[in-house]
Symmetry: C2
Subunit: 294 residues, 2 copies
C-alpha cells in the first residue's frame, strides 16, 4: 500500500467546488496520505470555511485561477453547466504538467466544454464520473469513504494524454474506487437510462403530488415504498437541471421509451389484461433480483 500511494502521490491538489464529490475526493486522498496539500475554491466562502474547519482542505484560494496556478492536479467538481466557465478561468494558469479532471455526471458536453475552454491544453484534461450518488450535498456530507467500492468511469478522448489518464485512474484507485474506461457517448447513453431518467421520474412524481390541493393528505399516507422510490428526488435541483440539459438528447430518448412503456402498461390495465401485466411485472422482478444477486 505504501508503494502504491508513493507512486501516485500528489504535492498540491486544487478542488474547485468543495461539496460532497469534491470534498470526499480530497478527504480520501488526505486520509491515505496521497496528497500533501489541498487548496479549495468555490462560490461560497462560508462553505470553504466549513471545509477548512472540517480539515477537508488546507487552504482557501481567492478564485479557481489562483487554486489552479498552485496545483499538480485540479479537480473540478461543480454542476456540469458551470464546468466550461471554471475551465476558462483556470486555462491560462495551469502548469504545463498539471492535470485537470472533473466529476460531472455527463461526459460529451464536458469534453466539448474542455475543448472550447482549454484549447490545446485539453490534452491535460481527463473526463471522469465517480458514481457516488447521494441525495445529500455539501461538504458536510463529504467522507473519505464515499468512493470505497464505488465505480468511477473515465472517458478519455484521443487527445487525452495517456499519462494523465493513468494518474487520475491511480488516484481514484487510492480512494478505493473501481475504475474503468468508457466511450463518452456510450457513457451518456447508459447513464441516461439507469440514472438520469430515474431521477427525472422521481422528481416528476413528487412534483405531481406536491402541487395538488390535497397534497398534505396524500403525503400523510405515503409509506416506505414512496420514500425509497423518491429518495433521489431529494437530490440537488441545480445539479439535476444541469444534467438533464447537458444530456438532453439521450435523456429525451429514454423519456420517449419510458412513456411508450407506460402506454403499454396503461393499455393492459384498461383492457384488464392480467396475464400480460403479471408477465411484465415478473420480468421486472426477476431481472432486478438477478441484478441484486450479482
Amino acid at each position: 500500500m505504501t508503494v502504491k500511494v508513493a507512486a501516485v502521490a500528489l504535492d498540491t491538489l486544487a478542488v474547485v467546488g468543495v461539496g460532497l464529490i469534491g470534498g470526499s475526493f480530497a478527504a480520501a486522498l488526505k486520509a491515505t496520505g496521497a496528497v500533501r496539500h489541498v487548496i479549495g475554491a468555490g462560490r461560497s466562502r462560508a462553505n470553504l470555511d466549513r471545509a477548512l474547519a472540517l480539515g477537508v482542505i488546507d487552504a482557501v484560494a481567492e478564485d479557481p485561477a489562483a487554486a489552479a496556478a498552485a496545483a499538480d492536479l485540479v479537480f473540478v467538481a461543480v454542476p456540469v453547466q458551470q464546468t466550461e466557465s471554471v475551465l476558462r478561468q483556470i486555462a491560462r494558469h495551469l502548469r504545463p504538467d498539471a492535470i485537470v479532471t472533473d466529476g460531472g455526471s455527463t461526459k460529451q458536453d464536458v469534453i466539448a466544454a474542455a475543448e472550447r475552454a482549454l484549447g490545446a491544453r485539453a490534452a491535460q484534461f481527463v473526463p471522469a464520473h465517480p458514481i457516488a450518488g447521494a441525495e445529500q450535498s455539501g461538504v458536510e456530507a463529504a467522507s473519505a469513504l464515499l468512493y470505497r467500492d464505488r465505480l468511477v468511469v473515465l472517458t478519455p478522448t484521443a487527445a487525452t494524454r495517456p499519462e494523465a489518464a493513468a494518474r487520475v485512474h491511480a488516484l481514484w484507485a487510492v480512494c478505493g474506487a473501481r475504475v474503468l474506461d468508457m466511450d463518452a457517448a456510450r457513457h451518456d447513453a447508459v447513464f441516461a437510462a439507469v440514472s438520469h431518467l430515474p431521477h427525472v421520474l422521481a422528481f416528476a412524481l413528487v412534483h405531481e403530488i406536491a402541487t395538488r390541493p390535497d397534497a398534505s393528505e396524500l403525503f400523510s399516507f405515503a409509506g416506505s415504498g414512496f420514500r425509497d422510490f423518491t429518495r433521489i428526488a431529494g437530490s440537488s435541483p441545480e445539479m439535476w437541471r444541469d444534467i438533464a440539459l447537458a444530456n438532453r438528447q439521450a435523456l429525451l430518448a429514454e423519456l420517449d421509451a419510458y412513456r411508450a412503456q407506460l402506454d403499454r402498461l396503461a393499455h393492459c390495465i384498461a383492457q384488464g389484461d392480467g396475464a400480460q401485466l403479471a408477465s411484465m411485472f415478473e420480468t421486472a422482478r426477476s431481472a432486478r433480483a438477478r441484478w441484486l444477486a450479482k
Copy 2:
C-alpha cells in the same frame, strides 16, 4: 397493557393466506398474548407447514371453510382478486358472531366482493388495509413487529357492524399499529397516487431496461439510486397485477396525470428551459424534505 389485551383477546383466529401480511398479524397477536389459537389455511401446504414450524400458526385447516368454522375472527390475507373466492368458500361456515376482515390494498372492489359473496353477512366484514409494504413476501418474512408504528386504514361501510369494526380496530392497535377510518373510494384514490402508481412506475422502468439487448451492461452501471427507486419492483407480481386491475379506474387517472407531468418535463428539457426545470425539481425536493421532517 394486560387490561387492553384482555379486552380484545380472541380465542381462535383463522388466517387465510399465511404470507407476510397474514403471518405477521398472527405473530403479533400471539406475541402479545391476544390470541389463544391460530389456524392457517392457504393454497400451499408447504407454506402452511413452514408457518407451523415457525410457530406463526398452531394448526393447519383443510380449507378456508374449515378454518372459518372454528374461528372468532377470520383474516383474509390473499391477493385481492382471490378475496371473493375465499369469502364464498367461508360464507356458509361463518359463526353468526364471527368477524371477517382482510388485508387488501384496494377497498372498493373488496367491499363489492364481500357484498356479493357474504350477502347479509357482509355486516360481519370489516374492510382493512394495513400499510406495511415490503418487497419480501411469504411467511418467512413475517414478523411480530411488522405493524409497529405502521398505519392500518379501516373502510367500514354503512352495513358494517360497529362492534366488529371496533374489535378489528383494537386488534390492530394491539399489533402496535396506528388505526384510522376512511371512506373506501377516497382510500382507493389516495393509494392509487402514493402507492399503486409508484409500483407500476418502478416495474415499468425495470421492464424497460431488462428487455433491451444491452440490459446486462446497463444493469452493471446501475447504482444505489436505481436500487432504491426500483425496490418496490421486487414486490409480488401477482399481488400487484391484482391491485392494478382492482383499482384500475383510479390508477389509470394517476397514470394519465403522471404522463402529462412527464410531457411537461420533456418539453422543458427539449426547449432547454432550465429555470422551469429547476423550479419543478426544487418544488419536489423541498416538498419531500418537509414530508420526511414530519
